[in-house]
């Protein structure tokens, strides 16, 4: 029995060492951001949503892209609570800046880089991720392979900037070095049948991959400036998503 407890201890210690080697660092109390994601945060190491890491968000179609943008804006809003500037790098931007205010971001604190050719886009994302002064970097790009993602991951391990990569209609989904891969799709808002109008934004959040974490699927609402996970319930991944996860 005592041996078994020792073993668990040793496992945990070794795991911690591996995490440090992999570039994972527990944020200090002052750097810690409360995302209010509740149960979703438990999927990651240390039960914290990983900042200073690369998140990959995949969407197909404009409706999904809008939902993904909403989720990203929600995360950004939490990260930029203490001020700071965020960079939004894209080629064909459709984001409407005033909408960011609904997610607690002052749109004038976001600097948009509208890149003309795709070749420069990845270079600019990498260069921005190296800049410690930024709160976060959003990159809207299509393709990303293992080597490219590895470079970005190495950049953020140095600078501790959070990178959100939104991949719209990617042609291939390869294995990447990103910390997490998400897929967000819109869900019909729930509303009392007698009530007119539209309800709060509601999404189906799929965490397809999480480094050192557990993938999962939840439903989430955005209500008055915070994530609402009262409706959060884990659900089983579909076959198609299993394939994506295998990537």
């Amino acid at each position: 029995m005592i041996q078994a407890i020792n073993k668990i201890d040793i496992f945990q210690q070794l795991q911690k060492q591996i995490h440090t080697l992999q570039g994972f660092r527990t944020p200090t109390e002052s750097q810690r951001v409360d995302f209010g994601l509740g149960i979703i945060e438990r999927s990651f190491t240390g039960n914290i949503f990983p900042t200073g890491a690369i998140h990959e968000l995949i969407s197909a179609g404009r409706e999904d892209a809008a939902a993904t943008t909403g989720f990203m804006a929600g995360l950004l809003g939490k990260m930029m609570q203490r001020g700071g500037i965020c960079l939004w790098i894209s080629q064909k931007r459709t984001l409407f800046p005033p909408a960011l205010k609904f997610f607690g971001i002052d749109p004038d604190r976001v600097v948009f880089i509208d890149v003309k050719n795709e070749k420069d886009l990845l270079w600019m994302v990498e260069e921005s991720l190296k800049c410690q002064a930024l709160s976060a970097v959003v990159g809207e790009l299509k393709e990303l392979n293992l080597t490219e993602s590895r470079r970005l991951q190495l950049a953020v391990e140095q600078s501790r900037v959070t990178g959100l990569l939104h991949r719209l209609n990617p042609r291939r989904i390869e294995n990447t070095a990103c910390t997490a891969r998400w897929k967000i799709t819109p869900l019909a808002s729930s509303l009392d049948p007698e009530m007119p109008g539209m309800g709060f934004a509601r999404w189906n959040i799929e965490l397809l991959k999480a480094r050192n974490g557990e993938p999962g699927q939840w439903q989430l609402q955005w209500i008055n400036g915070s994530f609402d996970y009262s409706a959060v319930k884990p659900s089983i991944l579909s076959d198609e998503d299993q394939l994506l996860k295998a990537g």
């Binding site: 943008t69 909403g70 984001l95 409407f96 205010k101 749109p107 002064a133 539209m198």
Partner: protein, 498 residues
């Protein structure tokens, strides 16, 4: 003690023609331009001048003297263009070069000649190079512009006038060497003043009474008692650094070394004066006379050497050295005051962040172009496309608040796109709409929010916006343009809600 060089191009325009058309060498030809209905000679080659054909003659008269005379049409303004190009070329000898009338240059060489060893070697280099490229030049050096000009045009003994020897040097020269008006010269000729020396010691009041103030001031200018100003052809940049090279430089690493050396000097000077650079030009002068330049701009004033170097590094490859560069010049035409920020220990948030972000943006614009960075501020318009305006700098603060009282989509189409709808009742949201060949059944809807066209900006119909949700849960922002009435109004999709 100032020193000036005067260079006189005796046949500037015709020499240029010979350089362009080598078969004209050693032939008598003239350039002519129409004047009062006649072709008047504006420039004559050296061979033509030997036969007595001078500029100002009518072509018909000149043809009588020399029947085989070749006549070409003169282009106005050629001399000025040529001289300013030559003046720019002469910048390698001194930073202050001025164009003199229509056939010469004045160089302020104070403190420059020792770089060539001596004034003799300096003058020899200038004249040898200019003669080598085909121009018939004379040059002279003296303490004053007037004396240098006089010796250059009329001197017969030596072009090198030693310091304080200008009065002896100009004494044997004719009065024309003083750059006087034709009327005064004629009068002096009539009175028998053939040399400057014959009136240089006369009482000033007599000279003034006879010949006017011009003679005295020209004489004073030549003797150095009255300062004469010149207008430099290329105003000297206040923030400029030069680096001449012993050996021509051809490789990129060597160019980068030269660049970082220049940047170091410039940045340390700017730092002392607490200024920062907004725009920097790096000029490279090639052996064959070509000038190449690269330019960078910054989003906020900076005197950070490494940062500026990195911005240049992206562009160094665009320089084409060919035979090699012999001189580099770094100038900062636009500088601004910067506030010195203290080095912060905790670089998490603070004023240093601003500088770091500005540097990042400089790098990004250096690669992608100046127009890729956008930042938005709220504008007081309800019309969605006009509700934002672009900010001019990183420090602009919003004048009004960002509005959140009305729903706005996260994703807005650049142009509203036409959709087909079926609406049950006018002024109700539609039941279904067709967008890109797909039918969306509307389950929930909000609205309408009427946004009127701002008539003082643009004419047009008002929009009635609805937020709708289809059976899949996707949310859209659609609008109807105009009323139901005689015409069926059109519907558009304008955005996507998250």
């Amino acid at each position: 003690m100032k020193r000036y060089v005067s260079i006189w191009f005796r046949h500037l325009i015709t020499d240029r023609w010979v350089i362009r058309h080598p078969d004209l060498k050693d032939t008598a030809f003239v350039l002519a331009a129409p004047k009062a209905g006649r072709m008047v000679i504006t420039a004559a080659s050296a061979d033509a001048e030997k036969q007595g054909i001078l500029s100002g003659m009518v072509v018909a008269d000149a043809r009588a003297v020399e029947p085989n005379l070749q006549v070409f049409e003169d282009k106005p303004g050629l001399a000025a263009r040529l001289l300013s190009a030559l003046a720019e070329w002469c910048l390698r000898y001194t930073p202050i070069v001025a164009v003199d009338c229509d056939s010469g240059l004045i160089l302020d060489i104070t403190g420059c000649a020792h770089l060539w060893g001596s004034e003799r070697a300096y003058m020899k280099d200038i004249t040898a190079r200019l003669r080598g490229s085909g121009y018939d030049v004379r040059a002279a050096v003296a303490d004053t512009i007037g004396a240098a000009w006089a010796v250059c045009h009329y001197g017969r003994i030596t072009p090198l006038i030693e310091p304080c020897k200008q009065s002896q040097a100009i004494a044997p020269l004719p009065p024309a060497a003083l750059r006087l008006d034709a009327g005064i010269l004629e009068r002096m000729n009539k009175l028998g003043f053939y040399q400057i020396g014959s009136f240089i010691s006369m009482p000033r009041s007599i000279l003034r009474r006879r010949f006017g103030q011009q003679l005295l001031s020209r004489l004073d200018q030549a003797l150095g008692q009255l300062t004469e100003n010149i207008l430099p052809v290329c105003p000297v940049e206040p923030y400029q650094e030069r680096l001449p090279c012993l050996e021509p430089i051809r490789t990129a690493p060597a160019i980068e070394m030269a660049l970082s050396k220049l940047l170091e000097v410039l940045c340390s000077r700017l730092l002392k004066e607490s200024k920062g650079i907004r725009k920097v030009l790096f000029k490279a002068f090639r052996m064959d006379g070509g000038v190449q330049q690269i330019e960078i701009g910054t989003n906020s004033a900076s005197c950070n050497q490494q940062h500026l170097f990195r911005l240049f590094q992206l562009k160094v490859s665009s320089l084409r050295p060919d035979l090699g560069f012999e001189l580099f010049i770094l100038e900062a035409p636009v500088v601004e005051d910067v506030e010195q920020t203290q080095e912060t220990l905790w670089n998490i948030s603070g004023s240093n962040d601003q500088a770091e972000i500005a540097e990042l943006l400089d790098r990004l614009t250096g690669r992608g172009g100046m127009d890729i960075v956008h930042r938005y501020l709220p504008d007081e318009h309800y019309w969605p496309e006009r509700s934002i305006k672009t900010a001019t700098s990183l420090l602009d603060k919003p004048q009004t608040k960002w509005r959140t009282d009305r729903p706005r989509p996260v994703s807005l189409l650049p142009q509203p796109e036409l959709i087909q709808v079926s609406a049950p009742v006018p002024d109700y949201p539609p039941m279904l709409f067709r967008y890109k060949g797909q039918v969306h059944k509307i389950k929930k809807a909000d609205g309408p929010e009427r946004i009127e066209q701002e008539w003082w900006i643009q004419d047009g119909l008002q929009r009635d916006y609805y937020c709708v949700e289809d059976e899949n849960g996707a949310r859209y922002w659609i609008f109807r343009l105009g009323h139901y009435g005689t015409n069926q109004p059109e519907w558009f999709i304008h955005g996507f809600f998250c």
